[in-house]
């Protein structure tokens, strides 16, 4: 079997494999609060966005070790988190705050039910699985909202060409031991907006939480409604 080293299949496979391989490093980085942009800006920006729309039930897509559920549970929001990495779900269950299920984006387990809101915090990292997720998500969100926080494309692009494609970044700023972090699929702002529109998600807001240190956007937060 011949496979292009950078083919989408290879990248999707590596994405999953490496998240499973580096789950412990990730849990440690999040819980030791070693990702400055999350601590300073983006965690709170996501919580603020969620509370502005006050869902009673929330699906956290790519929940990781479950910080969002723990943050929202005391506010009366019932959180279900899914993640494809079993070690992350184990960690989330141990810490509590919600219901946690091992699942990828390709096939949302029917038993999950429906929600007032779905959220993904820097976790829509693949290509086709994300597109299939968006095709299936609206039926789980009758009259509901979908919030995506992700890297701001114009900022995250760096010196590379500003176009969709697989990227390989470094985790060294927060996880020194991780030499081969998961790849992720870069989308331009144009592509993100098209992705929502293609699946009947109406973009209500595009927020740009700013990093105090630079004044530049630390992320972009898309808030969409099922139309």
């Amino acid at each position: 079997m011949t496979t292009e080293p950078d083919s989408a299949d290879t990248n999707e496979t590596l994405l999953g494999q490496r998240w499973r391989r580096h789950s412990d490093a990730w849990i440690d980085a999040v819980r030791a609060r070693r990702i400055p942009s999350r601590v300073a800006v983006t965690d709170q920006a996501l919580v603020d966005a969620i509370l502005d729309y006050r869902p009673d039930t929330l699906l956290d897509l790519g929940c990781g070790e479950g910080w969002l559920a723990r943050r929202l549970a005391p506010l009366g929001i019932a959180v279900t988190g899914i993640d494809a990495a079993p070690a992350l779900i184990d960690a989330a269950r141990e810490a509590g705050g919600g219901r946690f299920v091992v699942a990828g984006y390709d096939a949302l387990p029917p038993a999950l039910g429906s929600f007032a809101m779905a959220v993904s915090n820097f976790a829509l990292l693949g290509k086709e699985p994300v597109e299939r997720l968006l095709a299936n998500l609206p039926q789980r969100l009758p009259g509901g909202h979908f919030i995506v926080q992700t890297l701001h494309p114009l900022i995250a692009c760096g010196e590379q060409p500003y176009r969709d494609g697989w990227r390989r970044d470094s985790w060294t700023a927060f996880s020194a031991g991780v030499e081969e972090p998961p790849p992720w699929y870069f989308r331009t702002l144009e592509s993100w907006v098209r992705l929502f529109g293609a699946h009947g998600l109406r973009l209500l807001e595009l927020r740009e939480p700013r990093a105090p240190a630079t004044g530049q956007p630390a992320s972009v937060v898309f808030i969409a409604a099922v139309s």
Copy 2:
């Protein structure tokens, strides 16, 4: 009378005054094709966006010397252009291709009628007048579309803080003699999207036409529908 040098009123006044003062320089810059981003990317990007939605009637807000009407007239689109600078409207009328009216954004003349589409090409340059325009525009576009092409905020921001505010740029790249060009009001992407949403305009697309030389967006094109 005391006036803050950078107050909004002063800037709005300067914006109007300087466009009137520099109308001839502007006509010359556009017609001699001395603004490379327009020639290479943004003129065609706007025409492409318009043709993707195929209006039969179009209101060009801040039409300047009228290039868009001349471009669209042969395609069977009836263009009405408005601009607050009489010398620009005079030049547009002389060149033909549409109906041209001296008018600002504050009060769209009722006699203009309604349109299938309104477009503004790098011409929503003020603050409150633009907001009043968006409040009044949807009633002129029953079931229609609104397309705004403007500087891409993340690119245009340069080294200044990424937040809304008045800016003073240079025209020296295309009009050497213009030492005091009009000020303009910078809006972040978040603010643009909020502005549309606040006035019942549903954002369908956000396009980022790229400059071939840099691969970076040369502009942003918002395509909204009256909802």
